[in-house]
C-alpha cells in the first residue's frame, strides 16, 4: 500500500518534469494538430482536475475543443468561461488560453476548489491554419464556401501571390488617379491623401492580387468563409462578407452558445480577442442604455467594468492599448448585450508605443510597429517594395510589399509565456472576487407557544455583484433562491417558504426572518448556480 502510493508520487513527479520540459521546448505557435496534441497531453496529465470534450466538428473537419478545469462537480461552482480564437488571425489567443490552463492546473490548482473554468481555446481553427500554411494570408473565415461579393459566383477572385514569397501583402501602383501618397516619415508606408491639406494622390493601394473576374474589384471573393466573430446576433452585419446568411448560422457559433446556455454557473466570460474593455472600460451612454434595443453598457455595469479594468491594468502592467469595442456580430458584445454576463475582453498584447529621442511616438500605427520591430530586432517585419508586372496595369509601375499579415496583432512567440502568466494572475483575481453567497448570523429564538423566530443574513461575500445590471434583466441568469426545507409537523407562521432575490451587490447582505411553528431541525438554503449554494441547519426552540 505504502509502496504503491510512493510509486504514484514518483510517477507524478516524473510527469511534472516531462511537461515542464515540453513547455520550454515550445518555440513557436502551434498549428491545429500540434495544438490539439498539447491540449490532450495537458488534460491527460491532469485528468482528475480536467476534462476535454469536443463541442462540435466544423465544416472544415476541425474539432472545437472545450477544456473544463474543476475539482469535483464542475456545475456546482461559480465558473469563468475563457473563449479565444474568436478572430482567426489572433494566433496569440489560443496560445494564451492553453498556457493559462497550464498555469492554473500546474501552479494554482487550489483555485479549482471554489471555481470552475470552461475554456474554449480556438473557435476559428480553419482560419488559424492559414498562419501555418505555405501561403500566409490574413483570412479569418471557416471552411464554408461563400459568395463574398454576392454576385452569384463563388470564389472567383481570390488573392494572388504575385511576388511568390508565400505571403499575401499589398500592391501599390503609381497612378495619378490613385488616392494614396507615401508617408512623409517613412516612405514604405502609404496613407490616404488629404485634399484639405493640399495633398494630391499618386498611388493606388490594393491587396496583393489580380482582378481575376475583371469586375474592377481586387480579391473581393476569395475562399472567404464565415467569420466566427461576425456571426453573432448583436449588431449583426447583414449581407457583409464573412457574416453568413443569418446570425449564428455556423456550427461552431451555435454549438458554443448552446453549450454556454446550459452552464448556469458561469458568472463571467473572458474573451481573448480583438475587443478590449479591460484596458479601457466601456463608456455609459444614457440615451443608448434607455433604448429598447440597448446600445450602451448599463450604468452599474460601466462602474463594475471600471473596477475590474483598474485591476487588469495593475496586474498585467499593460498600457497604451488601442481602443476596440467590437464591430458588430462579435462574440464579446454578444456575451454582454445578448447574454447579460459580466463580459470582459482583451487581445492580451498590442504593439507597444516606441518613443523617439524627443519622447514622442509615431501616430501612424504601422510606423510605430516598424520602429518597435527595429528596436526588438525582428526580421521580416516588412516585405520591401519590389516591382512586378501586373496584367491589370500593363503600362504602369506596380510594386509588391508591406507589413505581412499577423505581425501587428501577434507578438513573437518568446513573449507569450510572460503575457500568459500575467493574464493568469488576472483570471485568478476574478476567481478571488467572484460572487459567493453564504448564510451568516443564523439565529433562532423562542417566541413561545411552540413558535421559533429564525433570522439569517444572506451575504454575498465576493466583491462582484451576483448579477450585472444587464443580467438582472436576462432570463439566462437565475435568481438567488432562499428556501426553507420544512419537515412534517413544521408550519410557517410568517415569511415565505421560497423567496427569489433579483441580485445582491458585492460584500452586501439581505436579512431574512421567519416564524416557524413546530419542533426539530430546519434547513435553510440560499444561492444559485453562479453564486454557489450555502445551506445551514438550525434547531427550532
Amino acid at each position: 500500500m505504502f509502496y504503491k502510493k510512493q510509486a504514484i508520487t514518483l510517477f507524478s513527479g516524473l510527469l511534472f518534469c516531462f511537461t515542464t520540459v515540453q513547455i520550454s521546448a515550445q518555440t513557436d505557435y502551434s498549428n491545429y494538430s500540434k495544438f490539439s496534441q498539447r491540449l490532450k497531453t495537458l488534460q491527460s496529465q491532469n485528468a482528475s482536475n480536467s476534462k476535454l470534450e469536443t463541442l462540435t466538428t466544423t465544416v472544415g473537419g476541425h474539432k472545437i475543443w472545450t477544456l473544463t478545469l474543476s475539482k469535483g462537480d464542475a456545475k456546482n461552482k461559480p465558473a469563468i468561461a475563457i473563449v479565444s480564437g474568436v478572430d482567426g488571425m489572433h494566433i496569440l489567443g489560443p496560445e494564451m488560453a492553453l498556457q493559462i490552463a497550464e498555469n492554473i492546473l500546474k501552479n494554482h490548482a487550489d483555485v479549482l476548489e471554489k471555481t470552475t473554468f470552461y475554456i474554449f481555446p480556438n473557435m476559428s481553427p480553419n482560419a488559424t491554419e492559414n498562419y501555418f500554411s505555405a501561403l500566409k494570408h490574413g483570412n479569418n473565415g471557416n471552411a464554408k464556401s461563400t459568395d463574398d461579393d454576392r454576385d452569384g459566383e463563388f470564389n472567383e477572385d481570390p488573392f494572388d501571390d504575385l511576388n511568390k514569397d508565400g505571403i499575401i501583402t499589398f500592391i501599390r501602383i503609381e497612378d495619378p488617379t490613385g488616392n494614396y501618397i507615401l508617408h512623409k516619415d517613412d516612405n514604405r508606408i502609404l496613407v490616404k491623401a488629404n485634399k484639405n491639406k493640399g495633398e494630391v494622390g499618386k498611388y493606388k493601394f490594393l491587396t496583393e492580387g489580380i482582378d481575376n473576374d475583371k469586375d474592377g474589384n481586387f480579391n473581393e471573393d476569395g475562399k472567404g468563409g464565415i467569420v466566427f466573430n461576425k456571426n453573432f446576433s448583436y449588431k449583426y452585419p447583414y449581407f457583409k462578407p464573412g457574416a453568413g446568411e443569418h446570425p449564428v448560422s455556423e456550427k461552431e457559433n451555435r454549438a458554443l452558445l448552446d453549450y454556454l446556455y446550459e452552464q448556469w454557473n458561469i458568472f463571467t466570460i473572458v474573451t481573448l480577442g480583438p475587443e478590449n474593455n479591460l484596458s479601457t472600460p466601456l463608456k455609459y451612454n444614457a440615451a443608448g442604455a434607455k433604448k429598447r434595443v440597448v446600445s450602451s453598457i448599463l450604468k452599474e455595469d460601466a462602474a463594475l467594468n471600471k473596477f475590474i479594468s483598474d485591476k487588469y491594468n495593475k496586474i498585467t502592467g499593460t498600457k497604451d492599448a488601442p481602443v476596440s469595442t467590437g464591430k458588430g456580430g462579435d462574440f464579446f458584445q454578444w456575451s454582454y448585450f445578448h447574454f447579460g454576463k459580466l463580459a470582459l475582453s482583451t487581445p492580451g498584447w498590442w504593439v507597444p508605443k516606441v518613443k523617439d529621442a524627443d519622447k514622442k511616438s509615431a501616430k501612424n500605427s504601422s510606423i510605430n510597429y516598424l520602429n518597435w520591430a527595429k528596436q526588438e530586432n525582428i526580421n521580416n517585419a516588412f516585405v520591401d517594395w519590389k516591382p512586378i508586372n501586373h496584367p491589370n496595369f500593363p503600362n504602369q509601375k506596380v510594386e509588391v510589399g508591406g507589413i505581412p499579415p499577423y505581425k501587428m496583432i501577434n507578438p513573437p512567440y518568446n513573449m507569450v509565456a510572460d503575457i500568459s502568466k500575467k493574464h493568469t494572475d488576472f483570471i485568478l483575481e476574478l476567481a478571488k472576487i467572484q460572487p459567493s453567497i453564504v448564510l451568516q448570523n443564523l439565529t433562532s429564538e423562542a417566541v413561545g407557544n411552540d413558535i421559533t423566530r429564525i433570522s439569517v443574513d444572506v451575504h454575498n461575500q465576493g466583491l462582484l455583484p451576483t448579477h450585472t445590471e444587464m443580467g438582472k434583466k436576462s432570463r439566462w441568469l437565475r435568481k438567488i433562491k432562499v428556501a426553507l426545507k420544512l419537515t412534517k409537523n413544521q408550519q410557517i407562521i410568517s415569511g415565505r417558504e421560497i423567496t427569489l432575490v433579483d441580485s445582491i451587490d458585492g460584500d452586501t447582505s439581505q436579512k431574512f426572518s421567519w416564524l416557524i411553528k413546530g419542533k426539530g431541525n430546519i434547513t435553510i438554503e440560499a444561492g444559485t448556480s453562479h453564486t454557489g449554494i450555502d445551506t445551514a441547519t438550525v434547531k427550532l426552540k
Binding site: 452569384g152 446576433s233 446568411e245 452558445l257 447574454f339 447579460g340 432570463r475 439566462w476 448556480s529
Partner: protein
C-alpha cells in the same frame, strides 16, 4: 341471437367501409361551384386534426396523387416528430425545383391551429382540382407549392390532448425556467374539473368585484362604482391551477415558455428586449428546419403563414426600429395583394404588424422578407365578425353564439371544487376550442377563402416569357439579335430589398449556338442606349426583370447559325426559345 346479429353488423361494416373511403358513384353527386365534387381523398373540414392526423392526411394526398405531390420531412421537432412538407406541382411539366415557388405554413403558435387545416385544404384542393379547373391546372404547371401544415407539431398535440386555455401553449415544448428559480416547467396548469380545458376559477367573496348575471349563469358582471349589490359577490382567481412548487404562486412556470415567432434571424433580439425569444436566431429545431429549407430553395418568391385570431392580413415590419427595411416599391406590391385579401376575406383587415398589432422582433415574416426578399403575409384567422357576419357584436355575442349555434358545446358550466389554497371555489368558462379556433361548421369556408388569397398571391409571382427575338443584319457578316423578355405578373424577379443587398443572384439571359462578339443590356431601345457587358457576353447578367414589365438584351453575333435564348431566374424560373 343478439350476439349473432352484432357479428353480422360488424362484418357488414368491415365490408362496406373500404367502399366508403373511395370516391362516390358519379351518379350520386352534383358539383357545387368551386369545390372538388368527387375527390380521391375524402377529408372532413369541420374538425381539427392532431399532428399525427395531419401527417396521415398528407400521406393520403401524396399517395393518391403521385404525379402532383412529393412528401418530405424537412426536419424534426424538439420531441422528434417529423415536420412534413408537401411539395405540390405538376411534376410531368418542367423542372419542379426551378419553378417559382410559394411557401405556406401553419401553426407556429401551437394553439393557433387553423393553419394546419388551411394548409391541408389547400393541398387537397390543388390536387383534386388539377385537370378539372384550368386556373389550378395552370398554377401547378407553372408554380410549385411548398406546404408545411404544422411547424410546431409537438405543442399542437399538447394543445389538443392536454388541458390548456385557448391561448396556451403558444410556445413549443422545450422546458424553460420562466420564474428563474432553477426549475423547469414545475408549476403548470391543473385541470381541476377534468374537462380537458383550462377554464377559470372564481370564489364567493364579500369583497369581490363581480356578480353572476341573473339572466345567464355562465356570465359574470363587473360591479360598477355606483352599483348597489343585493346578491352574492364573487372574485376571479385566475386560470385553473394550484401552487405545484410551493413558492406561493400559481401557474407561474407552465410548459415552454418561448415564442417560436420571436426566433427568426432578422433583427433578432434577446428575451430581455423581445419577450419570448429563445437562445439565438433559429435556436429552435422547427424554425431552423424551415430556415434551412428556405435557404436551400431560392426559387421561393412568395410566402404565407397562418396564425389566429382577429381577422388580419399582416405584413411587416414587425418592429418600428425596422421601418426602413420596407421600401416604397415593395410596399406597393404588398398593398395590392393585401387589399385584394380584404375583399376576399370579409371581416379581415390588411394591417402592418408594428403599428397595428405590436412592435416585435424576430418574426417569421420579417425574416422571409428582410433576409430573403420574399413577399410574405401572416393571416390571423378568425374574427368575431364571423359570429353573426357583422362587426361590433360585443362580448355578449359569444355567449349567444354558443347557445344559439353551437348548442352550448363551447362552455363548461360553473361547478364547485375544493382548492388546496383557496378553499371552496367554482370552476367554469369557455373551452379551449372556442374563441380563437374557428367553430367546425365555418372551418371549410375559412380555409377556402384564405387559400384563395394565397392563390392570388402565388399567381402574382414572376411569370417570364421570351416574347420577341428580333434579328437585324449588320455589315461584315455580323448580326444584331435583340431579345425581349416579359414578366406579366405583379412581382419582379427581385424585390427591391433583394436588389439593395444582392440577396438573390442576377437573372441570366444566355444565348447558345451563336458566335457572340458583344453583349449588352438595352436600356432605351428608341435612342439606342445600351450597357455593354465586357466579360462573358454570351451570359448576360440582368439585375432584375420588373413586375408587369420587359427587359431587352442585345447581342452582336457573327455568322448566321440558329441559336437558343435561355432566361434563368432564381425566383422567376427558366424559359427558353429557339431562333426561327
Amino acid at each position: 341471437m343478439k350476439i349473432n346479429k352484432n357479428i353480422f353488423k360488424s362484418l357488414l361494416l368491415v365490408f362496406l367501409f373500404p367502399l366508403a373511403i373511395g370516391a362516390q358513384n358519379s351518379t350520386e353527386i352534383f358539383r357545387a361551384a368551386g369545390s372538388p365534387h368527387n375527390p380521391k381523398v375524402q377529408i372532413s373540414f369541420n374538425r381539427y386534426y392532431t399532428s399525427e392526423g395531419l401527417a396521415a392526411l398528407g400521406k393520403k394526398i401524396a399517395d393518391a396523387h403521385p404525379n402532383l405531390v412529393k412528401r418530405q420531412s424537412i426536419g424534426k421537432s424538439a420531441l422528434g416528430r417529423d415536420i412534413w412538407m408537401l411539395a405540390i406541382t405538376n411534376y410531368k411539366k418542367g423542372n419542379a425545383d426551378r419553378k417559382p415557388a410559394f411557401y405556406v405554413d401553419g401553426n407556429i403558435h401551437s394553439n393557433e391551429i387553423q393553419g394546419g387545416e388551411i394548409c391541408m385544404y389547400t393541398a387537397w384542393y390543388l390536387t383534386e382540382n388539377f385537370n378539372n379547373n384550368e386556373y389550378i391546372t395552370n398554377m401547378l404547371n407553372d408554380r410549385v407549392f411548398y406546404i408545411v401544415p404544422t411547424i410546431n407539431p409537438d405543442a399542437r398535440n399538447d394543445f389538443m390532448k392536454e388541458p390548456n386555455t385557448g391561448s396556451s401553449p403558444r410556445s413549443g415544448m422545450i422546458a424553460l425556467d420562466d420564474d428563474r428559480d432553477g426549475k423547469f416547467d414545475e408549476d403548470g396548469y391543473d385541470d381541476i374539473n377534468g374537462d380537458g380545458s383550462i377554464t377559470r376559477m372564481r370564489r364567493k367573496s364579500a369583497h369581490g368585484n363581480y356578480i353572476v348575471d341573473p339572466q345567464d349563469p355562465r356570465k359574470m358582471i363587473l360591479i360598477g362604482p355606483d352599483d348597489i349589490v343585493t346578491t352574492q359577490r364573487y372574485e376571479y382567481l385566475g386560470n385553473e391551477g394550484i401552487d405545484n412548487d410551493g413558492d406561493g404562486r400559481i401557474n407561474e412556470d407552465t410548459h415552454g415558455y418561448y415564442d417560436p415567432n420571436r426566433d427568426w434571424g432578422w433583427k433578432w433580439q434577446p428575451d430581455y428586449v423581445q419577450r419570448g425569444a429563445y437562445k439565438h436566431p433559429f435556436s429552435l429545431p422547427e424554425t431552423r428546419a424551415v430556415a434551412d429549407f428556405v435557404l436551400a430553395h431560392p426559387n421561393i418568391a412568395g410566402a404565407q403563414s397562418f396564425h389566429n385570431s382577429g381577422g388580419m392580413i399582416l405584413r411587416g415590419p414587425g418592429a418600428q426600429e425596422d421601418l426602413a427595411t420596407y421600401n416604397r416599391a415593395d410596399i406597393r406590391i404588398y398593398d395590392a395583394i393585401g387589399k385584394k385579401g380584404e375583399k376576399m376575406l370579409p371581416g379581415y383587415r390588411y394591417l402592418t404588424v408594428y403599428k397595428d398589432l405590436y412592435s416585435v422582433f424576430g418574426g417569421e415574416l420579417d425574416w422571409f422578407y428582410g433576409s430573403r426578399g420574399i413577399y410574405t403575409f401572416t393571416n390571423e384567422i378568425f374574427t368575431s365578425f364571423a359570429y353573426y357576419k357583422k362587426n361590433g357584436g360585443g362580448r355578449n355575442q359569444t355567449y349567444d353564439f354558443d347557445k344559439e349555434l353551437l348548442m352550448g358545446d363551447a362552455f363548461t358550466p360553473w361547478k364547485e371544487f375544493d382548492h388546496p389554497t383557496y378553499g371552496k371555489i367554482e370552476i367554469g368558462g369557455f373551452k379551449k376550442n372556442f374563441g380563437r379556433a374557428t367553430p367546425g361548421f365555418m372551418l371549410e369556408e375559412e380555409a377556402h377563402r384564405n387559400m384563395a388569397f394565397t392563390f392570388y398571391h402565388a399567381y402574382h409571382m414572376p411569370n417570364l416569357s421570351i416574347t420577341d427575338i428580333a434579328e437585324k443584319k449588320l455589315s461584315g457578316g455580323l448580326k444584331e439579335v435583340t431579345v425581349t423578355i416579359k414578366n406579366d405578373r405583379l412581382m419582379p424577379t427581385h424585390a427591391s430589398q433583394d436588389l439593395k443587398y444582392n440577396i438573390t443572384r442576377p437573372d441570366y439571359v444566355s444565348i447558345s449556338g451563336a458566335n457572340v462578339v458583344a453583349g449588352m443590356l438595352v436600356t432605351d431601345d428608341d435612342f439606342n442606349v445600351t450597357e455593354e457587358q465586357k466579360i462573358n457576353p454570351a451570359k448576360m447578367r440582368v439585375r432584375n426583370i420588373p413586375g408587369n414589365g420587359v427587359v431587352k438584351v442585345r447581342w452582336i453575333v457573327k455568322g448566321n447559325s440558329k441559336f437558343t435564348i435561355t432566361v434563368d431566374s432564381e425566383k422567376g424560373g427558366v424559359v427558353s426559345k429557339r431562333s426561327k
